[in-house]
């Protein structure tokens, strides 16, 4: 425990800027993965344990596209669109067959695909770790804001994640398709009776969830080593975020992810040997005081 370091940071503008930005970066990446997870659970009522694989595929798709084209924009696009397509195929071919089944069955199917997807990545890209490298445009010195250090790439990452959050939130709240999705989440039978193709909605939502995880993977690719199985640790943290925020709540995923990011960032100064523990401790405190999470709703 190093409370002096934490106290000193909290009184230093430079440190506050650096650590807050660091927390936002961790949080926004987690949000992109967790929001897909929570969206799929909210609408499809499936705990998609294979969700981390889409993060992994997003990173690999981005790396490959970047190697082939040298375009960072295309790399990000490939990560997002590629995983959306993969999500759609996966949902139609496999997940749609376990809707309404026992949760254990759903988890087993998802876990089987975690292993299968890891092996697929191993076969295509090899077992060794890979690195995409930072695009030249971002190989620039960091910005110094109030003395704090902020890398330009991370500003882009935070910006993209924020835009995704706003578009998703507004889209679900205000657009017609958003209303249909919410209606399908609330009462799929009624939506189906109205002549709306629920299969299409489910496939679309799963693809959207996969796309968000893939986007996170693509954005992380320049700064993280790529390896088969890389989605697993992200998945665990995303579950924590989802549980803290409340399963099915997009706002909850955002707040949960930011809280986890900030806990990790400032916790590493004050509790260097307990940073991971802080995250779990926070989850326990939230669940004990509010079992449905911060923004979750009671299931009748």
């Amino acid at each position: 425990m190093d409370l002096d370091a934490l106290a000193s940071c909290l009184t230093s503008p430079a440190c506050l800027v650096t650590q807050t930005t660091s927390g936002l970066i961790i949080g926004m990446l987690l949000f992109l993965v967790a929001v897909g997870l929570t969206l799929i659970f909210g609408v499809l009522k499936v705990v998609n344990f294979s969700h981390g694989a889409f993060y992994m595929f997003g990173a690999y798709f981005a790396m490959t596209a970047y190697q082939l084209t040298g375009s960072f924009a295309l790399a990000i696009l490939s990560g997002a669109v590629g995983t959306a397509l993969l999500g759609l195929i996966f949902e139609r071919a496999f997940m749609s067959r376990v809707y309404g089944r026992d949760v254990l069955m759903q988890l087993l199917v998802c876990y089987a695909f975690v292993l299968i997807f890891d092996d697929v990545v191993r076969m295509i890209w090899g077992p060794e770790f890979r690195s995409m490298g930072m695009p030249a445009a971002f190989q620039v010195p960091p910005l110094f804001i109030a003395g704090g250090v902020v890398p330009p790439y991370y500003l882009l990452l935070i910006g993209v994640a924020l835009v995704a959050a706003v578009v998703l939130g507004l889209g679900l709240a205000r657009s017609r398709i958003g209303k249909v999705i919410r209606a399908a989440a609330h009462n799929p039978g009624m939506v189906s009776a109205l002549g709306i193709n629920t299969g299409l909605i489910y496939g679309g939502v799963f693809a959207l969830g996969g796309m968000l995880a893939g986007l996170a993977g693509a954005l992380a690719a320049p700064v993280r080593s790529l390896t088969p199985g890389m989605g697993f640790s992200v998945l665990i943290e995303s579950f924590i975020v989802t549980v803290i925020g409340g399963m099915g709540s997009i706002l909850g995923a955002l707040i949960g992810a930011l809280l986890i990011g900030l806990i990790r960032s400032f916790g590493s100064l004050g509790f260097p040997l307990f940073t991971e523990g802080l995250m779990y401790l926070f989850m326990v405190i939230v669940l004990v005081s509010r079992p449905t999470g911060l923004f979750g709703k009671e299931v009748a």
Binding site: I26, S131, V149, V223, R224, P272
Partner: protein, 419 residues
């Protein structure tokens, strides 16, 4: 004119009988020829995040085994490697090691496991009495601690304590020259990370008493994001940083630290950087990172080492790793020990291995020795230098001095109660 068949035994039947007779006479010879094959078992990590190192171990072993077999084998017996994936799990490594000996009939073990698995395989070797050469574990206690010692086990691997003595000596020289007094450490939170960092700091302070450790970070093994660690180190404002992160963890760390311009703000000493696994993967390798040599074909700067690195690349289309040279050396030792013993009997080979010095491309003076008193490898090339972003990656490696290593290692062993 027509030919008529004579009554009695035909020529075809006679030939068939002769053939059958020959086969039955030859059967024991065939069986004996098969028995001439010597099976060597190798549990190693062929899947998961360390798979690349396990694969490079297997590659190096096969490269050397082919040479030995082409030259007639071990005392006339062709080597058959039986290599299994332990998935990096100690219990699986132990199970496989036992199965390789008991079921597959392997007469020797090359233990291609990381530190966690090697202790488990060591116990199997103790139990079965089979000759075992550890080829990847750097944990010093595996052979330095007398409680671990068994006559049939050897370790053909660089050692954490050797690396720390040489690294700290090199770092202390730079610390004194540049006035680097405030240091931070960032190493993985498991036995190797903690032990190696502790030993490095111990000797750094011994060689440069002014040095002070002002920040420690212990990210967990295979942590995907180091942002919080990078910013924590930046807040501490050290003048130098030591890290024994390795593989994908090290490359992630470098990628993430790079965009915070960390390498322009402090001197970085990353012991595991100078290995092709990391050097060739990091896309924007910073210039001037200090690193211990792991495997690079330019150190030791000999034609033999360069030729070995090139031969490996020609066969496998990639450069070898630190685990590669260690595994290759183990096969070289086996070959020479069998020649010396004129036998493949495990006990006789173990006796021959003890204290054996062989010619080797990876030796500091062209030879390496399997030290008699603790069955561990000494005399291998060990040194530190600074990186550049293209080949040869670490152009100037300053070689460590084995006389100093021996002296300080002896003191260290005494302080640990090993002698």
């Amino acid at each position: 004119m027509t030919r008529t068949r004579k009554p009695g035994v035909s020529r075809r039947s006679t030939l068939a009988l002769m053939g059958a007779g020959a086969v039955s006479f030859a059967a024991p010879w065939v069986a004996r020829a098969q028995a001439k094959t010597i099976k060597i078992g190798m549990p190693t990590i062929l899947s998961g995040r360390v798979a690349q190192l396990g694969t490079s171990s297997r590659n190096a072993v096969m490269l050397e085994v082919e040479k030995v077999n082409a030259a007639g084998g071990l005392a006339g017996r062709q080597i058959e490697m039986v290599i299994r994936d332990s998935k990096g799990q100690p219990q699986e490594a132990a199970r496989i090691a036992r199965e390789l000996v008991n079921t597959d009939g392997c007469e020797m073990l090359l233990d291609g496991e990381a530190s966690s698995g090697s202790f488990a395989v060591h116990e199997v070797a103790r139990d079965l009495g089979v000759l075992c050469i550890h080829t990847c574990s750097e944990a010093s206690s595996l052979t330095a601690d007398p409680k671990q010692h068994i006559p049939n086990a050897f370790r053909c691997v660089r050692q954490g304590i050797h690396d720390s003595i040489v690294g700290a000596g090199y770092a202390a020289g730079i610390a004194k020259a540049k006035g680097l007094k405030k240091w931070a450490t960032c190493s993985p939170d498991y036995a190797y990370g903690r032990d190696t960092t502790g030993e490095f700091v111990l000797y750094l302070k011994k060689f440069a008493p002014d040095v002070e450790i002002i920040s420690e970070s212990w990210p967990k093994l295979f942590q995907p994001d180091y942002t919080e660690v990078v910013t924590k180190i930046l807040q501490a404002k050290p003048q130098a940083l030591y890290s024994c992160l390795w593989g994908g963890d090290l490359t992630s760390y470098i990628d993430q630290a790079n965009i915070y311009a960390m390498f322009t703000q402090m001197e970085v000493f990353a012991v595991n950087m100078a290995d092709y696994t990391a050097l060739t993967v990091v896309k924007n390798l910073p210039k001037g990172i200090h690193s211990g040599d792991r495997y690079i074909k330019t150190f030791p700067p000999t034609p033999e080492n360069a030729a070995w690195g090139d031969a490996y690349k020609a066969k496998y289309n990639e450069y070898p790793t630190n685990w590669s040279w260690q595994n290759a050396t183990a096969v070289m030792f086996l070959n020479e020990a069998v020649k010396k013993a004129n036998s493949t009997d495990g006990k006789k080979v173990a006796e021959a291995l003890t204290g054996l010095t062989i010619k080797c491309p990876f030796g500091a003076d062209g030879t390496v020795t399997m030290r008699a008193d603790d069955h561990t490898l000494v005399g291998y090339a060990i040194g530190w230098g600074t990186t550049i972003p293209q080949e040869p990656y670490v152009p100037d490696v300053k070689a460590g001095d084995w006389k100093t290593i021996f002296e300080l290692e002896a003191e260290w062993k005494k302080s640990k109660g090993y002698t």
